[in-house]
Subunit: 239 residues, 2 copies
């Protein structure tokens, strides 16, 4: 996504990531719960950002990590903050993924909702996996991508009591503002996501819509409202 090349956007984004947030408390633990032992594995990290996940894989014994991100600034920061001998950082868009290498695990955190052609992306990933290889990805929940004006509702005492949204059945482009920057995402229904995985040669093994733990809620109390509508979708699939 181009916004990650914008300096103002990036500094806001990095400030957000400095303190425990929804990603740290909800999305990352859920995705990591699906990760097998990475020792001796070759891993592709799509949308590696500033390299935190790639460094984690390298430190956990991965043989190699190819870490790609569309943002030059992110890759620069990854190289300066999270270099490891067996990580190769490259500026590359997920849609342009091309390498002669094959991987045991493809990992992608919160990138796929930026991708217009999901089927083509899955086909490319399939071609870069070894037989039996796995894809683990997270994305914004379809009820989020459906409608960025969607919002939790409150009762008279200010307790969150539900969620209101629209247009779940209308797939395609969504434009929204994040840190004053226009961000383009693509809404796909649950059914399209699962069916596309099958149609492109994947067996869906596990789907998560993570809910916050009690400790997470004590850090960010508004996470309680996730019970009404989760923010993330996390999937493990195998070829």
């Amino acid at each position: 996504m181009d916004a990650y090349n914008d300096e103002h956007f990036l500094s806001s984004y990095l400030r957000l990531r400095e303190n425990p947030n929804y990603n740290d408390l909800l999305e990352t633990p859920a995705a990591l719960s699906l990760l097998p032992d990475v020792k001796g594995r070759n891993i592709l990290d799509i949308g590696c950002g500033f390299g935190a996940s790639s460094a984690y894989f390298a430190d956990a014994g991965a043989t190699s990590v190819l870490a790609i991100d569309a943002s030059e600034r992110m890759i620069s920061k990854a190289i300066s903050d999270n270099s490891r001998e067996n990580i190769e950082y490259e500026v590359m868009r997920a849609e342009d993924l091309h390498t002669d290498r094959k991987f045991d695990i493809v990992w992608s955190s919160l990138v796929f909702h930026y991708i217009e052609d999901f089927g083509s992306l899955l086909k490319t990933i399939h071609d870069h996996l070894v037989p039996g290889g796995i894809l683990i990805f997270s994305q914004e929940h379809p009820l989020t991508t459906s409608d960025y004006s969607g919002h939790y509702t409150e009762d008279n005492d200010g307790n969150w009591n539900g969620y209101r949204f629209s247009s779940y059945g209308r797939e395609g482009e969504r434009r929204s503002l994040w840190f004053d920057t226009e961000v383009v995402t693509y809404h796909r229904t649950f059914s399209t996501i699962i069916t596309s995985l099958h149609d492109n040669g994947f067996v869906v093994e596990k789907v998560l819509e993570p809910l916050p733990s009690e400790p997470a809620i004590s850090i960010i109390p508004r996470m309680k409202r996730e019970i009404h509508k989760p923010s993330f979708l996390v999937i493990k699939a195998r070829i």
Copy 2:
């Protein structure tokens, strides 16, 4: 579900089914779109109701249909209205499914949201399928089972502009009124449904959240609002 044995409930239900409705215009076409050629196949119809689907399979060339329903009254009506030489109607709850026969296709329309133990049901169905056999089922959409007080919202001009619901992340029993009869259903998230299928030996091939066609909308204009939140979930899975 016990309500289908209640005379008042049953007569209201049958009146509803006399005219084209959501099932006829939305759920049934979607489920049928996933059905392979039934010629020469042995089919199990779980929750056959008054036998419309079983008769359809028989007339389309199925070798045999075992059609079960928990309601004696439904089975009586099925026998009187939809008898065929190769259909066997039996009063049997889905949860108690037991027969020495194995099936090429298990079909179940709008029954699974009444079942408390989904994993156990899937295991039983798996045991009654031939290798490569398929399960096609529809159920109320998880956003419906989540909250029966959920409702479409309207703008000032009375146009449907969204949907409001609660408690998606809280799985389990729901009690609601249908024709003045209390009905008990079980809410499961999307992720639980898909993951349970995999965990019980199924490969999920196709998931649908059907939207109404233009002709359907011309018959029932309020179907337009399905674009905000679909009513049904339809799944095809193979062992």
